[in-house]
């Protein structure tokens, strides 16, 4: 028994892992202590863990995303340290494989995804004049499945061992023959668990946006960020079920000895690559489109001009969404599918550059002759345009099948996707967070610290990744744990950049703490002289968002309201507001799903089967729950609004 726990269950023998264990234990003890000491358990349960309020769920998503950014960031620094010089002995090859796997998986699925979904939660209902999302209970459930999925993935580091076959988890490497340990199971079940939540989010936001807009707000009068959320939701709905199946099939292969992707039994390893990228390529657009939406909002607000080419922006996003499903083969041109197939996918791939280019020109057009304010969100947007363009152009280079035979699986590819993912998605999330921060927390983020962190990040980012294009051209392969002497100078440079970049993130996070303490409170509700409806609400936003919902005439609803002096509080139109009740079931059910998945990871059916039963019981409880929520009485609305608006004068 002890033997099992020490040798198989816990990961032992590595100083870094002991360090990780110690810090996990210390952090847990610390959190429990603080919560108990300040008697915060009940508050935490009542206000956050059971909440169905989209604003709070959004905040929880973003906190989790920042935590995961740190986990992934530490992985990145460890990799860069190992690669700084030839023959480094910081990480051994096995450990290096684990780290690049968890880095990629965490960053895409547990950092980028919750960050975009968090911002969607915060902003979309406010932008369309809704009081919550269509299915608030489901929304809480989405969050908790993501959260427990992320936890399941993260504990693999100390319990059982991390997956090590890359975030793409290619077979036969990830299959039962070559990875007989349980570690790959963590990848499969953690992604499955959080994937369920993501699919539910897609459905939820699609219905919300289609059915709950303010009167007068036709589709073409929606704020552009809402448009990006709508299209992202559609991509999620069509892409995530593919991942669900791909993961399920590999789980069957690994746990129930089937033959989908195995070499024996006439299975087909390359089918995994196809299924994975059929989801994977749309996935990269899932994480970029909301960032595009944020940039459009930010650029228009801070250039103090209406968005240039609103309709073109919308159509461009639709075209991107469509194309994103027919380019997946570009991830394995070297599979050898033949010239015909490769040419076809080369062409579709390069076509994506057209709508993307249209968007770039529209952003430039929006700024043209604008009176630009250089606040932090705008800085991120300005840095995004040139850096993302580098990512896009190198993407087109990769998209030419014959040329890709040279670039494939080299550092050139690594540099490409970091230019699109960091300069695109991450800058976008930072811009969005700084932009909506006053709406979320009632004060801005400090501008000075914001600018320092911005410059560290942008400069560090370029020092890290620009050299990698050249390393790639020099032939340095990706996923390699030691370097050749001739690659040393550029690698050393890249590692230096990585630490500067990390400093930028640390300052960004420190800014959150600093601003909470020292920034002046935000009283107007309209921190940036905004244009869309979220700025029409008071700050802090009342839990029902809008006392009365305004009539919308254009995609800049609040801009119009400011001209006529209208507000979201029309006393003559007050009615009791129906709101959903908070529920404990989402977190409980997701916790049980966590336990069941953990059981499956270890092939412990005595744990997995009761877990499955628990899930069914939760579903029955839900089905028999006829709670209709409650109504906020008119008096209370009046009191809340007068208090909030009294402050404004």
């Amino acid at each position: 028994m002890w033997d099992f726990i020490w040798n198989d269950f816990l990961v032992t023998g590595e100083p870094i892992i002991y360090g990780a264990m110690a810090s996990i234990v210390l952090a847990t003890v610390g959190i429990v202590f603080v919560l108990t000491y300040f008697k915060l358990w009940k508050w935490l349960w009542d206000e956050y863990l059971t909440t169905v309020d989209h604003k709070k769920i959004g905040i929880m998503y973003i906190i989790a995303a920042l935590a995961m950014l740190f986990r992934g960031g530490v992985d990145a620094l460890m990799m860069r340290t190992q690669l700084a010089l030839p023959n480094m002995n910081f990480l051994n090859s096995v450990h290096y494989n684990e780290i690049f796997t968890t880095h990629g998986t965490v960053m895409i699925l547990f950092m980028a995804m919750p960050f975009i979904i968090g911002l969607m939660n915060v902003a979309v209902p406010l932008q369309i004049g809704a009081r919550d999302v269509a299915f608030p209970f489901l929304n809480a459930f989405s969050f908790w499945t993501f959260f427990f999925g992320a936890m399941l993935f993260n504990i693999s580091f100390v319990i059982g061992g991390s997956p090590s076959a890359g975030w793409t988890s290619y077979v036969p490497m990830a299959g039962p023959e070559l990875s007989p340990e349980i570690n790959q199971n963590y990848y499969l079940l953690a992604l499955q668990l959080s994937g369920i939540g993501t699919l539910a989010t897609g459905i939820n936001f699609l219905v919300t946006i289609l059915r709950m807009r303010a009167p007068g707000m036709t589709l073409m009068k929606m704020p552009i960020f809402t448009w990006s959320a709508l299209i992202t939701s559609i991509i999620i709905i069509f892409a995530f079920p593919i991942l669900t199946i791909a993961l399920a099939l590999m789980t069957l292969d690994r746990i129930f000895s089937t033959h989908f992707f195995t070499l024996a039994g006439e299975g087909m390893p390359m089918m995994w690559a196809n299924l994975f990228w059929l989801w994977g390529h749309p996935e990269v657009y899932i994480v970029i489109l909301p960032a595009f939406g944020v940039f459009s909002e930010v650029i228009s607000t801070f250039a103090r001009k209406q968005l240039f080419g609103y309709k073109a922006m919308v159509y461009a996003m639709c075209v991107i969404a469509g194309l994103s499903f027919i380019v997946w083969v570009h991830h394995f041109f070297t599979m050898g599918a033949g010239a015909g197939v490769n040419s076809l996918f080369s062409i579709t791939t390069m076509l994506i550059a057209v709508p993307t280019g249209i968007k770039i020109f529209n952003w430039l057009g929006t700024m043209y002759k604008g009176r630009i304010r250089f606040n932090v969100p705008m800085l991120w947007a300005l840095a995004f345009i040139p850096n993302f363009t580098i990512g896009g152009v190198t993407g087109v280079m990769l998209g030419m099948a014959s040329a890709d035979y040279q670039y494939h699986n080299t550092y050139f590819l690594i540099a490409h996707f970091h230019y699109v993912l960091i300069a695109g998605t991450l800058f976008g999330m930072f811009a969005g967070l700084t932009y909506w921060y006053p709406k979320m927390f009632g004060h801005k983020m400090n501008e000075k610290l914001g600018k320092i962190s911005f410059w560290f990040t942008v400069i560090g980012f370029n020092i890290t990744f620009l050299p990698q294009f050249f390393l790639g051209l020099m032939g340095m392969p990706r996923r390699t744990y030691t370097i050749e002497p001739e690659w040393m100078p550029l690698n050393l440079l890249s590692t230096t950049g990585a630490f500067i970049l990390a400093a930028g993130f640390v300052i960004f996070t420190f800014n959150i703490y600093y601003s909470a303490r020292y920034e002046p409170r935000e009283k107007t509700g309209d921190a940036w002289d905004g244009r869309s409806l979220e700025w029409a609400t008071t700050t802090p936003v009342p839990h029902y968002n809008f006392a009365t919902i305004p009539y919308v005439n254009s995609h800049e609803a609040y801009w119009d309201m400011k001209e006529t002096g209208a507000t979201t509080y029309d006393e003559s139109k007050l009615e009791p507001i129906h709101m959903p009740s908070y529920k404990g079931l989402p977190i409980i059910m997701s916790a049980i799903m966590f336990v069941a998945s953990f059981g499956l990871v270890w092939h412990w059916f005595w744990l997995a089967i009761p877990g499955l039963l628990g899930i069914i019981i939760c579903m029955v409880i839900r089905s028999f729950d006829f709670d209709e929520g409650y109504h906020v009485p008119i008096d209370e609305i009046k009191r809340t609004e007068e208090q909030a608006r009294g402050r404004k004068e």
Partner: protein, 202 residues
């Protein structure tokens, strides 16, 4: 969102404001399910004929069995339609009876499916035999699991109908399970064609 305003006319399941929301949400969920099953069908098509050392499908598939299963499920879809029709006529008793008949037919289908699986396993074709059989059992098994889930779900709704009567909320739930059931029927038609008919010929 002030949905205390309940409409007095129109189909029961659409009268409260959250009715149409949920129903639209469920249609979208079904779209996701279409993608899910398409992926399974694609997998099946790719792995078709990859028997390894196992028995080929055409030696095991039997027309009478497949036809019976198809017949049971098609009829159950029809009775499910009658159930919803009864709901529109606000006949609680008719609704419950037709739902129970639907359930019974669904259970019959499942019985045959289980029998079929056991039979194949005895003949030496299991989910572990080869790529083809893995794909076969996963595709049909996923459909079967969906039907099983539908059976439990429908039972829960019948209990609620009997206990709480035909309220707009329960009407909505009934309507939604109706959609689900018809959807499973459609999927089965594809399975019948792509798996059994083609499997017997090729």
């Amino acid at each position: 969102m002030s949905e205390h305003a309940e409409l007095k006319t129109g189909p029961l399941e659409y009268r409260r404001e959250d009715g149409p929301l949920t129903i639209l949400g469920f249609w979208i969920f079904l779209a996701a399910e279409v993608v899910l099953f398409s992926t399974l069908f694609a997998t099946y098509a790719v792995l078709f004929g990859r028997y390894g050392d196992a028995t080929p499908a055409h030696e095991l598939f039997e027309m009478p069995m497949a036809l019976t299963m198809t017949f049971l499920l098609l009829v159950s879809s029809f009775t499910c339609g009658i159930a919803v029709h009864m709901m529109r006529k606000e006949s609680l008793k008719g609704l419950v009876i037709w739902l129970i008949i639907t359930l019974a037919l669904g259970l019959g289908f499942l019985g045959f499916e289980i029998y079929e699986f056991v039979h194949y396993v005895h003949e030496g074709a299991t989910i572990q035999s080869s790529a083809f059989w893995s794909a076969f059992f996963t595709l049909t098994g996923t459909h079967g699991l969906h039907v099983t889930l539908g059976v439990f779900w429908c039972t829960a709704i019948i209990i609620q109908l009997i206990r709480f009567g035909l309220t707009p909320v329960i009407a909505r739930k009934t309507f939604v399970i109706g959609l689900y059931w018809h959807f499973l029927d459609v999927v089965w038609i594809f399975i019948f064609t792509a798996v059994y008919l083609i499997g017997m010929v090729v």
